[in-house]
Symmetry: C2
Subunit: 333 residues, 2 copies
């Protein structure tokens, strides 16, 4: 389909829609459920608790160092499922495409989705495509279904005094990678997005037998936003040691250049884990045994106090870590 | 929130995002699962087959006679689930909002979603909001989860020679209602969209004990597009009696004015059912017993022949009914 572009008729539900589905989507994402071309996908789920989630992806530009919109659309939703402790199983994908978008570019996006779905062990079982006026998009909204193992209860309100906070890797790469390609802001950096599916990392952590209270991937709002959410949901104070948080040099210098705090920058391939203090060593070892968690570190602990996040400074002081406010980094995912 | 508008920060994942979620979304769509504010919703499903589906909704204008984007976002996905024979249970919703969109208008859309969710017996258990540059949208992508009763096997490839085709109501109202409010095309009509959830209608049909082979709601592509899909999937010829298909006067005259075939116009509140010929009377009675199916009629039958749709004309001739091609009616849902 090289040289061709998305046309209005591709979203009309007629002959052209069916050609696009068959020649572009099914050729890359096809599986026995999707290939049936019904308006629904039928799957069998084991009895028990199921995690459901959705995310709309509007990143601009749609291609960035380390990935594209398609990588995000699969990994972002897979990771939200994984943060419940669920094994991610099935995704749906709704595409909103601008008229005139090159089909070769759409192929690149869908190829990335296919690669990430394979890597994450999920199948895309239902989809929809709409075409809108040119000048905006493409946008992809994915929803996900995961199966929560018996006995696993992981949620944002389960952080307890005495727990420790672990971080699976270095922070800030996704946001900086996207910003480095944004019109009007382009700067030179070697930073590539950390976008990756985290279901395997979570599975290893749970398989270690470690008790896990909270898991969350610090996407929009960064580590600061995510820790503030957990502190608010659990009604606890979280104290972090800023110097313990790994930040690669490229992210550090880009943040200096742009006046950003790495704690506010979006990530798409790392996670925060809150586990009982007694489990810290076992949990860290489990994380560090996975490719996605080699750089895992302990960055803080849960304390008595108001629902807030504080950082210990190098000189031994304490400063409040606010959730980012205002339009800090729009359309990062 | 009257007088205020969507701002970039509402999609940033920070303080403003959380305010929007709490004050606008949770106030209308809240339930114990959604209220937890985790990045996932946990639900219990009975063992067995589950139907998954998704649709992106980009209708323009977003408000039309008989409903708005929010009505469509719930009913469209509920209906795709219902067409599998499933009982619709849970939805997820991803919002893509243009900067500057009035919050009062967003409230109107979300109010419609809340009403329709209640009517359809579904809960919205996960959501996401992104903000994009002004000038396009709002868009909503919903995904749905439904539970398929044991023994129910309904799919597009199950139409058999000897089956009959039933239609639950009159056609063409949704497409004409949307077009009547479109810039550059405005015309006077009393036609209101048929948008409605069809899960109750399907449940009654199945409760009648009638064997059902195919269900499908003729949305984009209309009755002609949908019947062509079924004919292709099942490898059969479908013959319809054009005069049997109910079309209200307002739709008829608007189609005459605009040069459209009512068979090509999108619907959002009626369905096609393919059932064995011996079941026709029982199925029709079940449909006609529901408010959404009072005007149900038999419109055709499944015959030996190529994968195509033909219509018997008033004079006894036969004409081929093509699926619509080209950009007939963009952004109707």
């Amino acid at each position: 389909m090289s040289g061709r572009v998305v046309e209005g008729a591709h979203g009309g539900g007629g002959v052209e829609s069916r050609e696009l589905v068959r020649d572009l989507f099914l050729a890359r994402l096809g599986n026995p459920v999707l290939n049936r071309l019904d308006d629904f996908g039928l799957v069998d789920l084991p009895p028990g608790r199921v995690a459901l989630t959705t995310d709309a992806f509007v990143v601009t530009p749609w291609r960035f160092p380390g990935g594209n919109l398609g990588d995000l659309a699969v990994c972002g939703t897979v990771n939200d499922l994984a943060m419940s402790g669920a094994r991610p199983r099935y995704l749906t994908a709704g595409f909103i495409l601008p008229e005139g978008f090159p089909l070769a570019d759409l192929e690149e996006v869908v190829d990335a989705m296919a690669r990430r779905a394979l890597q994450a062990g999920v199948e895309i079982v239902a989809g929809d495509t709409k075409v809108v006026d040119s000048g905006m998009g493409p946008f992809i909204t994915t929803a996900g279904v995961g199966v929560v193992p018996a006995g696993v209860v992981i949620a944002g309100d389960r952080a307890r005094v005495g727990d420790v906070v672990l971080l699976s890797g270095d922070i800030g790469r996704h946001g900086i990678a996207v910003l480095s390609r944004r019109a009007g802001l382009a700067f030179r950096t070697e930073v590539v997005s950390d976008v990756a599916p985290l279901g395997g990392l979570v599975a290893e952590l749970l398989a270690s037998g470690c008790e896990v209270h909270v898991l969350r991937d610090p996407t929009r709002g960064g580590v600061a936003g995510t820790l503030n959410e957990i502190a608010a949901q659990s009604g606890v104070e979280i104290e972090i040691d800023e110097q313990a948080i790994p930040v690669v040099a490229g992210v550090r210098s880009a943040c200096d250049l742009l006046g950003f705090d790495p704690l506010h920058i979006a990530n798409e391939g790392c996670m925060l884990a809150v586990v009982p203090g007694a489990e810290a060593a076992r949990a860290l070892a489990a994380l560090q045994g996975c490719p996605e968690g080699q750089r895992a570190v302990m960055i803080g602990r849960v304390r008595h106090g108001g629902a807030r996040v504080v950082a210990r400074t190098p000189l031994g002081g304490r400063r409040l870590v606010d959730a980012p406010a205002g339009e800090l980094l729009p359309r990062i995912c």
